[in-house]
């Protein structure tokens, strides 16, 4: 086991040399999290828009549920998906357990409530502002939702990036349904957990640094987008 200084030096060495294993893990992490994010946005944004614009019995209960699901424990999500996809589970015939697809499913379940609940809030505020004008113009319901999603795009991108932050940093669900299999389902967070337990700190540190850089990049991107949107009065 190395001391902290030499572990850092080795970690930078791995990054500088574009180590193949390291790149593979980073690539899979990004593929899984971005695909989960895309799926979550496709489900969560229309769901958020629907709850934001429609009045129906039980709407408050749906909102409370959506907010509560934002705090879903990843290990519980992992366990539920595991039970569905395991050989004896209802979806066992699909043979998805311990594949990147299973990890994408678990992360999609994890971040969809975040996208739906946060976008609901954003779109409801926008809808409050626009609703009389929309009514006056006789805007059909579908066009109304499309307009809200388009006009709220910069804020919704922030929402999406919050979901991405949650998925890329998550370990509990992906380790249960992915199994952390080398060259197949090993992502940054599961690799960090494994390498740390093995005492191989350089790879864990290198991956940790990449995660930090991604987190920083995501926040910088959010900041730049918000600034640009505010500057051009599209926010």
């Amino acid at each position: 086991m190395q001391d902290g200084g030499s572990a850092f030096a080795l970690a930078f060495g791995l990054l500088a040399s574009a180590d193949a294993d390291l790149l593979e893990i980073i690539g899979l992490s990004l593929r899984v999290s971005l695909t989960a994010l895309l799926a979550s946005c496709l489900i969560g944004l229309p769901l958020g828009a629907l709850v934001a614009t429609c009045r129906f019995p039980g709407r408050s209960a749906v909102m409370v549920l959506m907010n509560a699901l934002m705090g879903l424990p990843p290990v519980v999500v992992g366990l539920i998906v595991y039970l569905q996809l395991s050989r004896t589970g209802p979806l066992g015939w699909m043979q998805l357990l311990y594949t990147p697809t299973a990890m994408i499913i678990a992360q999609t379940i994890l971040i969809t409530p975040i996208i739906a609940a946060l976008s609901r809030q954003v779109l409801e505020d926008l809808h409050t502002e626009y609703s009389e004008q929309f009514r006056s113009l006789n805007v059909p319901w579908r066009s109304e939702i499309a307009a809200l999603l388009w006009d709220g795009r910069f804020t919704l991108m922030t929402v999406a990036l919050a979901g991405f932050g949650r998925s890329i940093a998550e370990v509990g669900a992906v380790i249960i349904v992915g199994g952390n299999i080398d060259h197949l389902t090993r992502v940054m967070t599961t690799a960090i957990a494994l390498e740390t337990s093995k005492g191989d700190l350089p790879l864990a540190l290198a991956l940790g640094l990449v995660l930090l850089v991604i987190a920083l990049a995501v926040n910088a991107l959010v900041f730049v987008m918000r600034q640009a949107a505010a500057k051009f009065a599209y926010a």
Binding site: Q133, R135, S136, N138, S143, F232, A233, Y234, A235
Partner: protein, 243 residues
Amino acid sequence: MPECTAKTNALMPLEVSGLNLDLAGQLLIDGIDLTISEPGVTVIMGYNGAGKSLLLRLLHGLISQTSGTILWAGQTQSNAVRQRQAMVFQSPVLLRRSVSANIDFALKVRGQLDAAWRDELLELVGLADLSARPARLLSGGEQQRLSLARALSCRPDVLLLDEPTANLDPASVAVIEDILKSACAEGVKIIFVTHDIGQAKRLGDEIVFLHQGKVAEQSAAEAFFTHPTSQVAQAYLEGRIVV
């Protein structure tokens, strides 16, 4: 000043009878009976809280009355009727898009996207040079002109305006008044809420004076400003406060 034409208007006359609006136990519109049949500009005036904006929203069907009827050329409010009306609000509600995209949105909703008509409207309201600019970066007067252009883009028979020039500079007020006179000359019926007595004198052909949710007086503009028949309208014109 272009004269308002007596061209046949598909939504006239407007007949309101026994109109009540009760919100949280408060009767905010109290049994209004009103007929508007003349072309031109009908100005709704009254003190703050008289129910002017509520009446306009009721007429446009943005809120529902507790009881009573509103008939536009004998028809109750519906999407088809509202399709022939347009409303301009006191605070312009503009989409987070460019100036031209705001008008395109209104046209597209009706399946009538027409770039030439949009450009003509932007020319009319003096915003042709700003068509690519984000709408929300316009000045207050420009935003209201854009709202007006968007409202006119639908070629309405009736244009409802809720204090559209409140808080605007005199130059913007003059531009908006000119646009309204032009619309009126084209045969558009204008129903206009304002606090501004000078503006009501400049634009109004007919005045409806509201007080505490009731019509206190309805008369031709000239008669209203020279010989108001109700005491409350008289006090209003003299600048006295009525509690």
